[in-house]
Assembly symmetry: C2
Homo-oligomer: 613 residues x 2
Amino acid sequence: MGVVDDRISGLAELGQQLRVDAVRASARAGSGHPTSSMSAADLMAGLLSGHLHYDFEHPQRPGNDRLVFSKGHASPLLYAMLRAVGAIDEERLMSYRRLGSDLEGHPTPRLPWVDVATGSLGQGLPIGVGMALGARLSGSPARVWVLCGDGEIAEGSMWEAFASASDLGLGNLCAIVDVNRLGQTGPTRFEWDTAAYAARIGCFGWHTVEIDGHDPAEIDRALAAAEAEQGRPTAIIARTRKGKGVAAAEDKEGLHGKPLPEPEKAVVELGGVRSATVRVSPPRPSEPRRRGETMPLALPAFPVGITAATRDGFGKGLEAVGESDPDVLVLDGEVGDSTRTAGFAKAFPNRFVECYIAEQQMIAAAVGLHTQGWIPYAATFAAFLTRAHDFLRMAAISGSDLRIVGSHAGVSIGRDGPSQMGLEDLAMMRALWRSVVLYPCDANQAAHLTATMADLPGISYLRTTRAETPVIYREDELFPVGGSKTLLGSPHDRIAIVAAGITVSESLKAAEQLVQDGVPVRLIDAYSVKPLDAAVVRQAAADTGRVLTVEDHRPVGGLGDAVLDAVAGRVPDVRFAKLAVHGMPGSAGPAEQLAAAGIDAAAIVHAAQRLLA
Amino acid sequence: MGVVDDRISGLAELGQQLRVDAVRASARAGSGHPTSSMSAADLMAGLLSGHLHYDFEHPQRPGNDRLVFSKGHASPLLYAMLRAVGAIDEERLMSYRRLGSDLEGHPTPRLPWVDVATGSLGQGLPIGVGMALGARLSGSPARVWVLCGDGEIAEGSMWEAFASASDLGLGNLCAIVDVNRLGQTGPTRFEWDTAAYAARIGCFGWHTVEIDGHDPAEIDRALAAAEAEQGRPTAIIARTRKGKGVAAAEDKEGLHGKPLPEPEKAVVELGGVRSATVRVSPPRPSEPRRRGETMPLALPAFPVGITAATRDGFGKGLEAVGESDPDVLVLDGEVGDSTRTAGFAKAFPNRFVECYIAEQQMIAAAVGLHTQGWIPYAATFAAFLTRAHDFLRMAAISGSDLRIVGSHAGVSIGRDGPSQMGLEDLAMMRALWRSVVLYPCDANQAAHLTATMADLPGISYLRTTRAETPVIYREDELFPVGGSKTLLGSPHDRIAIVAAGITVSESLKAAEQLVQDGVPVRLIDAYSVKPLDAAVVRQAAADTGRVLTVEDHRPVGGLGDAVLDAVAGRVPDVRFAKLAVHGMPGSAGPAEQLAAAGIDAAAIVHAAQRLLA
């Protein structure tokens, strides 16, 4: 087992080793992307040899550089690199893509050297922006290297990242673009026109370097140039050949995502199996990042009986959380005055990241910041979070701890109309893996839940309302995740109403009417939509035999479905009715909207009467 | 009532009229975006006066230009324009944002002069790309004008549009960028640096013109320059002032989305109410677009008993649909070999649009093409459709007829891992307004449903599977939307299994086992997930008292929830069990994945036994 000593002269040799291992692992697995790995092998050989500063024995060491495979399908190359640095052995390499192996088809943080899951293209670079920002905010000397494909440059999210990174002056970020000319189905838009990439990325304020991606000296110089940059991010635009080194595969269409046809022959053509070990440069000297000193949390208090918007409860709660915990960061999609993150921005301008109207980059930055130890909250209109759905989906795979806030939920926003109404957000957020979905009905509850989110693992979501609603809870009330509040109830209740958010106050009005009419009502505030307080809801169903759900959301995937899922088949003889937004709203006032959608107090009374009939 | 005769000298006057009307309408409504309208008023005055070719009495006239307000919040300006051309009167203008009015907070096609809903920023230009392409494909001389905000330029989708439009050589497209310096919460990234916009957009291959957006002569010249372009799209980058013309509002922060503080005074400052009528140029001479001549549909036939992937059924079905109907277009996100649109691409290259890896642009182009009379199908991996969720949400508001196909659904894709698995797509697509969700289990069914979609209004979604499944239906079987197939059943069934897609074949195996064990089983293939065949499912629940659902999808928002919604509370004494994907898959073979997720035949047998116990 040799050691690659002379950096430049050994690079070509190391590149071949990486190719051989990518070919072998994919052949063994019977699937994978060897050709996409082979194009970038020399680039990664160069990075490993003198430019990446990383302690593979301690992947969490704070001074470590970060490496993101934005082209996640080139995972065989990543795993070949791990073998070359001695992090994994031959046997583990050969477990690629097998049941139970952490060497997955696309990298995930099941591997300790992988910070974020990739494989949905166009995500690694936007996340890298967050990482680079997080490193800078932490005072870390770490650099962030992102291996990008040429095909993914077509994703708009990449341009959000290019724009953000230069705007933020992220000199510690380097995108290495593997221009291998071929996408999955055919040639990319620009094929080998590296000048086209360089011109566009350069126009976006990046330092760009065009190189031959198979020339070790050019690669080394470009990486050194990136390291020398302070104020601007660097893009290395590398002309490469897909399947490089194997004549039967090199620059050939139809071989994307497939093992090489004759892998043994290919290995021979590449010079055979090698087992050189690379000595990677140690992390640049740095202090371990210090967790900021926390202070006692002093949440705002809204007097019971006034009206206040839950978005204001969130905004004030967020300021309190920011005061209490200096590691909390807030990201905005240029709607901070509406979501009410503006107060935090004013109080803590250094911990507020304006992402402008680029929701994908906002979520990606949060994912990246989380990997650097920060506690990010990201807020925009609930409706516009759909823009970042794929980033949220991937963040769940990454196991990111994110706090997402969607304001202006539901028809109750009023006159702005359906484009601004979050009506599908509960379905989207509930379907995410291990997500928590919270939906406060008053400002004190909103503030409490905002603080609760700081400590939650995984993706948590707070749904807030534009309109003011009555404050019904004292400021010292507690709202555990998975809990609920029974606002009305007796052993004689004849119907249970389950509401959340804006429909709680409507349900209170409706219940008053029903009680006046002699119908005892159980009213449950299901502020924890996921996990739902299933025990309380089931008990209510068992006690009353009639369950009515009311939500300012589409009838699919929201509160009503959560209740059905908890109760149906588990409690005998229960009748259900689900009130939700079935039509397409237009412009109208909030009360008119609630009435038109059939989710206001009058509609609730009517539905209850039908259910009781 | 005067008539604006002298074009240039009247432009400033018309601009003031548009401002006055925007101010008045917003004041009357008590909400709206007058300041964002005032900045663009001179630009739109110029467009109306000699450059827009449009017959407002016949908005569907094929030669009509198209005008899209990508900055949809400037709707008061649009409505002021409609009054200026005589399309609406004073009373209708004053209905802005009121209940029942079609002058909504953000424009929607409830108004006959509006083709697509806007209001989620960054969507109008990508849709304009589809419109311009559709016009060109139709041989129409129409031009597409898109009024863009400066804030929305931060959206990645805009850069997908810039890249696509130049790549497609859309000389008939013009973006008019209203650079008013102020976003919602504060200054935009580039404020008045129009050169920064021009440099970036120019690098993306557009003809760019920087102008003073309040100088009528400059506006007129720029619009004429756009009209003179043939091969390149044009971007007019116009420096403007938000709230222009009213000192209390002009270039002031804190006034976004609010009526002017003293509207009567503002109207006086703007010179008072006017009622000039603009004579708009008639549409450029053109033949009405001819609906292509359709041929009888000849669907492929897969022999019963073989195995074939539903994605292949879709691909072959799509070719047949393309053969039958020359108005069918197909859009690809650079995965045509995987989704199986590659066959259509080969057969009908002129009706195949390669959108590269830009899913937002793909869906937006489909929306735009639909407005031009085309029948678009758009396909990518189900997982990556989440990238375009906001575009799908807005397409529902637009009332677009779109056929969306998501391949590689579920864990059964195998070794590529969770990033490539569509596990939340049913929840996303079912929650969309008036959507239809179809999920075939065999190739013949897939082909039939593909053809059915061509005639469906609204957004229809076909979910396909990578793996091969047994062909169980003859090619002449019919599969109506809202229907189902009962594959096994007798009056004595003790349990009903409801499956769709890949879980149908697993359920068939499980049912065989259960029947062998003496348990008669009803098995329903719910290929129409939305609308579900509620009658059949309810009858099965009533007959058996036990319903087991099985889906290759997250437990939220999919088939199981659809069944619960149909049955719970409507049929007494039913026990339910829902099998779905609860964990986070890794890499493994398809059968291993189905087993690990607990949705294979063995898991179904086990769950049925528990339900029967």
